[in-house]
Symmetry: C2
């Protein structure tokens, strides 16, 4: 049984990769070079893919940067030291327009070619509820779209399933699940604004959520285990 796993190199997608492997899928990992301001994420994705023994790891380019509109892809500054409680109230500036729609569409294209009916994605409605495309109803709508886009027979009519196993977990639960499955979180990268050596800033939203997750899970983040 084959599955595509969207692999960003972050903590969430590393956990999803481990979940897909634990379910005995032969994994085709898909990462995107979409004009991120740093390549550390993609390096992390490559390390995670190699460590978990995927069948193939494809990094594909999409030129979202030219569309503008986000601190992750445009020349805006990443917000720092925001109270975490504020993150659920509005769409964060780090939102990449239509990102999950674009990513899932490209995964769908690859799935058609490989005749794969299972796609795994690390979206999460708990710790990222500011992103509209991380909700269960969005995932269900994409499944329906995919079915209509391919129903005439490309994949034999079998319905595409989008697996979002982290949907209802908080960050601490995600980390606990990953640790059970042997994920080496020391290979992952979460920071929106690392220093030139690739070290996390520890004050952007992503760093704060990650730190809070490890604290709540009662674990030490291996990225800082040496301190």
């Amino acid at each position: 049984m084959k599955a595509i796993v969207l692999l960003s190199g972050g903590l969430d997608s590393a956990t999803v990769l481990a979940i897909a492997k634990a379910a005995d899928y032969a994994v085709y990992a898909l990462s995107f070079n979409y004009g991120q301001r740093h390549q550390i994420e993609l390096d992390a994705a490559a390390k995670l893919a190699a460590a978990s023994g995927v069948v193939e790891h494809l990094i594909t380019d999409i030129d979202l940067r030219r569309f503008g509109g986000s601190a992750l892809t445009a020349e805006l500054s990443v917000p720092k030291d925001r109270p975490l409680a504020s993150l659920t109230s509005a769409i964060p500036i780090t939102y990449v327009p239509a990102r999950n729609t674009v990513f899932l569409s490209l995964a769908l294209a690859w799935a058609e070619v490989l005749e794969i009916n299972d796609i795994f994605i690390g979206v999460n409605a708990i710790d990222y509820s500011g992103y509209p495309d991380c909700r269960p109803e969005y995932i269900a709508a994409f499944e329906r779209l995919a079915h209509l886009a391919t129903a005439a027979g490309v994949s034999g009519g079998q319905r595409l399933k989008i697996h979002a196993p982290l949907m209802t977990l908080n960050k601490a639960e995600i980390i606990q699940r990953g640790i059970e499955l042997g994920v080496d979180y020391g290979l992952t990268h979460s920071c929106y604004d690392p220093d030139p050596a690739g070290r996390p800033c520890r004050c952007c939203d992503a760093c704060q959520l990650r730190a809070q997750g490890f604290v709540q899970a009662g674990l030490i983040d291996p990225l800082f285990a040496h301190e």
Copy 2:
């Protein structure tokens, strides 16, 4: 009022561009360099965009070629001299996997950045019924997905509309509509397999459909007006 028009450089999208302009939209034209085997299509798109006075014409890269799976992007041969009656019976080999889903997703990303609620696409359920992602129910599903992907407020909650004005027209009707609107079909390109000088092969499916459309419309294709 602003709109994004997906502009391939073909006959259909040239007509859609004219329809959007005639409806007084300020047009942002979007084309894709997705590993087509020839650049003539993109040259045609650029000429059409310039001729009709769009606000902006963005050509963005997507690396679909690495996914394989189609005669348009992989190293398969384009079928020639097939009876047109056979085209509706199966998904043609020239199908690009998930193409309209990928294209509409990227249009959605740009629409969010530009705060645009109208996207025009030249899909057609009559002459291309072998493509699953050219059906009305597919377009409706994409609108629903787009609404869910952005409903939390990015574009003020206004519902995105996908305009597919060619949906129920046959090729002859499309050409007649375009001629009424002043489209110069001499700028368009349809052939899947042009010669090195860019001249149409006149026997692939796209050439045959185009020729049949002009015959049925009682018009001479300006690409061959000199003959």
